[in-house]
Subunit: 263 residues, 4 copies
Amino acid sequence: MCRWMAYSGSPIPVSELLLTPKHSLIDQSLHSTMGATTTNGDGFGLGWYGIGDTPGVFHSMEPAWNDRNLADLSRHLVSPLVFAHVRASTGGAIQQTNCHPFRYRNWLWMHNGLIREFATVKRDLAFAVDPSLYPLIEGSTDSELFFYLALTMGLQDDPLTAVERTVGLIEDTGHAHGVPDPIQMTVATTDGTSIWAFRYSSEGVSRSLFHSTNIAMLRQMYPENSLLHEVSEETRLIVSEPLGFGSVTGNPLASTQARLPAS
Amino acid sequence: MCRWMAYSGSPIPVSELLLTPKHSLIDQSLHSTMGATTTNGDGFGLGWYGIGDTPGVFHSMEPAWNDRNLADLSRHLVSPLVFAHVRASTGGAIQQTNCHPFRYRNWLWMHNGLIREFATVKRDLAFAVDPSLYPLIEGSTDSELFFYLALTMGLQDDPLTAVERTVGLIEDTGHAHGVPDPIQMTVATTDGTSIWAFRYSSEGVSRSLFHSTNIAMLRQMYPENSLLHEVSEETRLIVSEPLGFGSVTGNPLASTQARLPAS
Amino acid sequence: MCRWMAYSGSPIPVSELLLTPKHSLIDQSLHSTMGATTTNGDGFGLGWYGIGDTPGVFHSMEPAWNDRNLADLSRHLVSPLVFAHVRASTGGAIQQTNCHPFRYRNWLWMHNGLIREFATVKRDLAFAVDPSLYPLIEGSTDSELFFYLALTMGLQDDPLTAVERTVGLIEDTGHAHGVPDPIQMTVATTDGTSIWAFRYSSEGVSRSLFHSTNIAMLRQMYPENSLLHEVSEETRLIVSEPLGFGSVTGNPLASTQARLPAS
Amino acid sequence: MCRWMAYSGSPIPVSELLLTPKHSLIDQSLHSTMGATTTNGDGFGLGWYGIGDTPGVFHSMEPAWNDRNLADLSRHLVSPLVFAHVRASTGGAIQQTNCHPFRYRNWLWMHNGLIREFATVKRDLAFAVDPSLYPLIEGSTDSELFFYLALTMGLQDDPLTAVERTVGLIEDTGHAHGVPDPIQMTVATTDGTSIWAFRYSSEGVSRSLFHSTNIAMLRQMYPENSLLHEVSEETRLIVSEPLGFGSVTGNPLASTQARLPAS
């Protein structure tokens, strides 16, 4: 329903991630080949770390492919850790507060997938959010509520356990309401230092997700790609679909959590 | 914080209400003289009854004064019952789902004022909304939650009692959290046949509200105003501020409910 | 590059044209099957005749498929003559002044196609516009300039000749600058009484265009379609792609002008 | 009609200019005290120099006071040369292509004021733009056309002479059409190294403009302002209205050109 990418490594202009690759995330907003929908034109979001303690966030209701501000900003922002997301709404309103990545303090969160029959389970899930966090929910999406549940479950202390417990709560709540296969997800979250990525679905058929494991191998495969040769050994990329400047690894993530060291 | 107007009577082009008067609601979006803020530029909303069972709603994030779609639509829509609202946000996001009037089936609702320390009481109030209505809340405003509470309290059966009970709940909840003067409000609601308007504040100093009681008197006072001479005897207007084509009645509403017969 | 439809006949809610058909124009904004591009998400426009001398126009920068105002308005507007257009930009800015249909007094104009190498010929064409019309050009598209050239050439007096002369001017100007195949077009224009539709391309391979010639035949072919049975004998529909509730006629327009009687 | 500010000096977060000052440009968008209009809510623009040869530009149709992207970006962008502008339209469409600052290669341009009776003189002025520059005009404002005329007159080689000649052309063209007092302006332009600011009006009563001449004096006057103590000696600020963290100099610019050395 959406497409996203997460980058961690040598500081680079965001445009190298968003604009330059042949099958960039912006191209995927118009021509996704592996997503549940071809068009991801219901808004866009960018999160990046730079100056200050909290990441910057840019949210737009417009399709990414023609957003001039996005194109201009991405050429002028340099960052070592970038989240970007193109949205295909499953019914929720098109508004900036429904755009990913969501931010809480130094954390970012983005999600591809859905909580099934969300209208049925929304109230129960909303009241499971910590009362001090509840008023911070601004939009109407399952993805943002998922984030605040994970924060409630201890995301800031132990992301793996928190997401695992949150998924368990969502599945239990769904099952209590008779919802089959309550969740479908790929998720990325970061505290500005590490990135955690998750791929899971109640029915066992999860959305695509790819991650780079070995920059040296990529350089060998794509000797003409200058970006790959300039970034550090620790650079990592996690994407819903390969960007086409080198198909990342071609290995879809298993339905488990991947913890990436970040620069 | 906002300005609104409600019209009921002979079907007229909406532009006669929004554009033609000297101190129209659109003018008030830029130059409010009696509101808590001079500028009401944080979105706009129009609700009107015409064909079909439910009213039409047009919501815009743009300031009303320069919204060409609004100007054009208002010249082409004819309606016997119109709600219009210009917003001055007290912090909530600028998005269409935060624009008044809010709609549920054949009902419309709009509000000027605020629920004080909303972040403190929001969760308790949201929990009081009927579970079947809860997932319909799309925005993040106090005003929309107020509407769904009133629906929960029986707005569709007995508006006066429902609003009274809702205000009581909001005050009780506020007091339980130590919030002084929990609510400040003028509200208009309609089922498409009647309009109910309310003016109240916990501290006893309510926002301005005016209503016309006697079209004959207005005609005598403003003989040059052709609109006033064409509409029926039952035509009524309720406004945050007089529109300047005849100062409505000049009598602010008491802090009580007014029920208007509608055509 | 775009898709459009023009309706003339019995007054109907605009939603019957935009929302109800299986392959409606809104569906075509996301899944065009016969257009130069699959996605037509770079804005939307609606023009309709109702009260007053000039048509109403609603322009939106957002993709049509998720525009709630558009969905709501279309359910509440009843009109005997409707133009609607979804845009796929060929580079021009996404802004309301670049959305079709364009309006001048009682006239509307919409265009699918392009003036080739527009940057090269724009200045020469702009200065061929009547000086009294020139300052009314608000956007940056080839399509709007094409309209003002046609007005300059006498569109209001003799549409067929004016469009023919304008196409000639565009081709001459293009050839003078060495532009091969200067124009590709389907165009619809109306004065509120008649609709004129044109299909032409310099290279002789024009964009798709369909029109209904015989409502009786359509009724026979699609006995289950209630809309077709309620409208008058004179009702006509011209579309870039069949709407799928009855494939209109299946006969693409010849590269000639079609003049339709309007109710 | 608008308000703007130009900053040149030590690299600082843009938020120090836009958000921190008491009477910041964002505050002026809502409460201008010295402008022709109190509200400057018809769009916003930011231009800044950083990486790359051309400046970044962020244009928004929304009022600056509630634009969350603007607030977020300004906290994450650090720049030694910043242009910012809040718009109050004098009739032109609210669209990004009408937002200042305008950009051509490494140059930025912004304007407060107007070319009087623009519809009357627009065509003649547009005709005077160099044919190679003409197709780059994207919006419909007098200010953008003014910029392209100045580029035509040699802005990149000799800004003072080019602006002087352009103002002369605008006045001559206005007078030829019987327009009294053809131009009212404050203008700032930059090539990324120097800033040139102009204040002029045909009638001799120009819009307010202030510039800082001596950072040492400002530090003495406002010992508590930490920003003023951190920036270099060469830092300069030019503003439509003082920002209120130190009233800049209090000396309005004479109706002449001021050339500022930039860091």
